[in-house]
Symmetry: C4
Subunit: 245 residues, 4 copies
């Protein structure tokens, strides 16, 4: 019996396993769409009732699935405290607590359950490659992250110095200037805050020429680390083939 | 006879073939310009008449070309259902249907016929390299695509939570917030929607620092895959030369 | 005599040559600053007179230099029609024509003369590397350029279709929509034009997810080609050293 | 005695050294936060007094630290004029001068002291790699920097030519147009200045297609140089291991 349930829930090489997996994935997608629909401002009462009913069905299915996963697991606690275990719990417990606290917003995290779908098929190797790439460049990414934060902080101090007098409401403190810094250095540039003094504009000129490059380096690093990870994978594959011969 | 037509239409090593190809390409460009001119708001009646007449000429030429291509093709159905076959059909059939339905907008797809011009000359190898590069990174691109979509979804949920009360008209639902997410994460930043609450700004700060890097990784991946494709091409070329010796 | 002048003008290994080069470079920079100052709206008459006088001095010096360069050159016509020869001419002839036509704007091209300064010192090899990199990726760059243009055209047609009715003044034709396309796909996003209909926003969503990556690939390509060029340079250098032994 | 103090201040392998380092780092972070809080517009008198008192404490601690570092240093002048020595001095001397000149803004540079924390732990190697990468691409970065400046200058001249008449206030001189150029070429696009004439828009179209790629190349260069630096590090590591055997 336990074996049978295990083969349905955890094993996706059997027909029942595949059907179960696709069923759960489709339900997750539908429940995310339902969650988004609920936020629409002018829903009719009928729509609201239907969405509530659908949410009850989803939570029941997800709860059964969660209990069964614990039941068939060899190390239940390992599953409960694993990434997927926590995501699975996040997908259901806000519902049970809603009488006490309103945590329905947490339902958005169900979106992470979609990753399990990726494990299904051929993306497992690509995920491993990303994992390897992250390991290769972890130090550089952390360093650039710190450099970026320092750059944003210094930029905020500088623009505060130049623009505070001219625009006291938009650049009223270094904290307010941080908003300008991040929007400028990531090149989003909404246009709600921008320097108007000559000093502030010259400062921005210098910051943009130097800063934009620094902020975009990590993406390039990630790309080259992924190429490297692919090469390493290929080498390991070649080595295995050689040793087989 | 069939052989002669084939050499004109499909073969671009002969003089007639080249002239035919250039003639068709120029006509495509002119028909695209005519299509764009038609959308101008204050065309005089004379201009409209001229553009309509020119369109009739274009459709006649493209129809004759289409019929001839089917006629000389060894496997007509293979051509009809190929990428270029469909594009060639798209270039003419809206005209014949315009009495019934207004599909003139589809004429814009004639632009794809320009790709055939690239096949002509020396870009064939570069196209093959791009094709190979796409094959190398297909999995990662799909993965990053899914990660990007998940990121956009979670960001939308987050900003909806922070900004809905302060700006109920701009962030009126998660669907409306999606617009903000895509415009922010791709760093376009039109400035029509942006957070105004402190919570929303801090949330955006965190999202931008983490998210912008993730969204721009695929471009870097594509670039390094193209380098890789060039290397593979070079190796194959070297191998061929060696085996010849 | 001719030899002497040559050693001053063309040879930058001698002291006189270096002094001459630095003098000309400083004069170019000053003349560019003077040109920019002239465009300031509220210049006093004294400033205008001074700037005019300085411009006359610059043109006299540049003219003498130009004539001398022709005089000492072994193949005068080769110099006159070379990149630097044309730039040198552009730097002076607008002045002589100003009675007839106002071409003073062309003086901005003096900025290209700065490149000659780069040849002086150690940037010569870096310039060669960039030259080699451009040769490596020329085909891909042209291809991506064409793909980008096609993408911009199709995007313009699409947004015109979605937004023309809602914003007939901003998206009044495909030509007007091109402005929106380029500003969006390069992620500049001024905020003067953006879609307001649901259809237009969804269309922009799709375009941004796919298009932004494509438009930024060439920069990544250029970067990896430059790395490749450095490797090739290194290999050639190693080969030379080996053959010497 | 001197030895003892040295082991606390400079050596971070001992327990006392680590405690001292973490204490100083936390104090730097707190003093930066205090500095930022001071700029808030509506601080109560109590808050201001508290922040002032805290600043006095910080300066006393940093002064003692600075004096001790000079005291234990073998080459005091080498330390004083080193990067960290200057940063350490910048962290305290504005306080002592504030009766005469208001240089409190310089306190923001304390943020650089955070780099010392990075030296502590495992980021030392990543810092060395970045150092090596900078050395590899120094020439290209300088070249692209100059090319970018030339591009910005020419773009400013161009847009001034097209837009000056239509928008004399925003594009009133080449210097004012520089602001538009940097905001556009880095794709920030605040939306405070943008071309409105057909000529200016077409010019921007061309500039964006060519220019955006050039401006973003250095980030890609940096990323590929960092990969190269990692490879070189790996090779050196392998060579050492081989020579040990």
């Amino acid at each position: 019996m336990k074996q049978k349930i295990w083969s349905i829930i955890e094993d996706n090489t059997t027909l029942e396993g595949r059907i179960f997996d696709y069923f759960i994935q489709v339900l997750i997608l539908l429940s995310l769409i339902a969650f988004s629909l609920e936020t629409l401002p002018n829903n009719s009462e009928r729509t609201i009732n239907f969405l509530n009913a659908f949410e009850v069905v989803c939570v029941i299915v997800f709860t059964i699935e969660y209990v069964l996963r614990i039941y068939v697991s060899k190390h239940p606690f390992k599953y409960i405290f694993s990434f997927y275990g926590i995501i699975d719990l996040l997908a259901i417990f806000p519902f049970y607590l809603q009488a006490a606290v309103d945590l329905r917003g947490l339902r958005a995290f169900r979106v992470f359950r979609i990753f399990r779908a990726l494990k299904l098929v051929r993306y497992n190797r690509a995920l491993q490659r990303i994992h390897l790439a992250v390991k290769i460049i972890k130090e550089e990414i952390v360093l650039f992250f710190i450099i970026t934060l320092i750059l944003i902080y210094l930029t905020s101090c500088g623009i505060y110095f130049f623009e505070n007098e001219a625009q006291p409401e938009l650049f009223s403190s270094i904290f307010h200037s941080l908003w300008w810094s991040i929007v400028t250095l990531t090149t989003v540039g909404y246009g709600d805050v921008y320097p108007i003094t000559a000093g502030g504009k010259i400062f921005t000129f210098v910051v943009l020429i130097i800063g934009v490059g620094i902020v975009t380096v990590p993406a390039g690093l990630a790309a080259s680390a992924l190429s490297k990870a692919r090469e390493i994978e290929q080498e390991n594959f070649d080595l295995k083939n050689q040793s087989k011969k």
